[in-house]
């Protein structure tokens, strides 16, 4: 079973605050991802990393930033939260090698509400 953890599960915060969403996995996976999802919509890839010190932006433009200093940890930061950032943020990982397909394991998600 997947061992990928996200904290917090729910976060309500005021406009302008800086927040960091935590994501950790204990499977030793090299690949990690952040998706954003709104009800009735597809999951949009906002950031991904294929290894330590490697991060890339995804298909959906996002004002958030990520870091990958350790294999198991992939935090996402919003420097100044706005109501438009209200969404569910989903972290995922996979052990697939470059060029090989493998399923993603997802965390439980963080439901962010910016007032």
């Amino acid at each position: 079973e997947a061992d990928i953890y996200q904290t917090p599960r729910y976060l309500v915060i005021g406009t302008g605050k800086k927040i960091t969403l935590e994501c950790s996995q204990t499977m030793g996976h090299d690949k990690m991802y952040w998706y954003q999802q709104d009800p009735g919509m597809e999951l949009h890839l906002i950031h991904y990393s294929y290894g330590v010190n490697s991060t890339e932006k995804g298909d959906l433009s996002s004002e958030s930033t990520v870091s990958r200093i350790r294999t198991e940890h992939f935090p996402l930061t919003l420097e100044s939260a706005r109501p438009s950032h209200t969404s569910q943020y989903l972290c995922a990982s996979s052990g697939g090698r470059s060029g090989r397909n493998e399923k993603l394991f997802f965390g439980s998600g963080t439901q962010l509400s910016v007032l």
Binding site: M41, E42, G58, G96, G99, F106
Partner: protein
């Protein structure tokens, strides 16, 4: 433009009957397809996958069919159970790239 399309936002089925969820894709480079199940305020959980070298994969009550010429795949759930009620996402990738998801279909199974 959406590369993975789930054109039915919702589906209602009676318990014990078959549920058929459909998915279309436009990118002919996709070679790996997956179905995920998601409850509100939870992360998606993996259900079943299929490689483009196959046209069918079965796992218990779940079967995925792939029609490459039509760029279409479907998920069959037989028999449907109330606990299957959730949002089902179709996803695809090519050569190990990040998954691209459809908008999901909400399945409601009534007893």
């Amino acid at each position: 433009d959406q590369q993975v399309k789930q054109n039915s936002p919702s589906l209602s089925v009676q318990e014990g009957r078959i549920s058929i969820l459909n998915c279309d894709y436009t990118n002919s480079m996709f070679d790996y397809f997956l179905w995920y199940k998601k409850y509100p305020a939870e992360g998606p959980t993996f259900l079943i996958s299929i490689s483009s070298i196959k046209d069918k994969n079965e796992d218990g009550r779940f079967t995925v069919f792939l029609n490459k010429s039509a760029k279409h795949l479907s998920l069959h759930i037989v028999p449907s159970q109330p606990g299957d009620s959730a949002v089902y996402f179709c996803a695809a990738s090519s050569r190990g790239t990040a998954l691209i998801f459809g908008k999901g279909t909400t399945l409601s199974v009534s007893s």
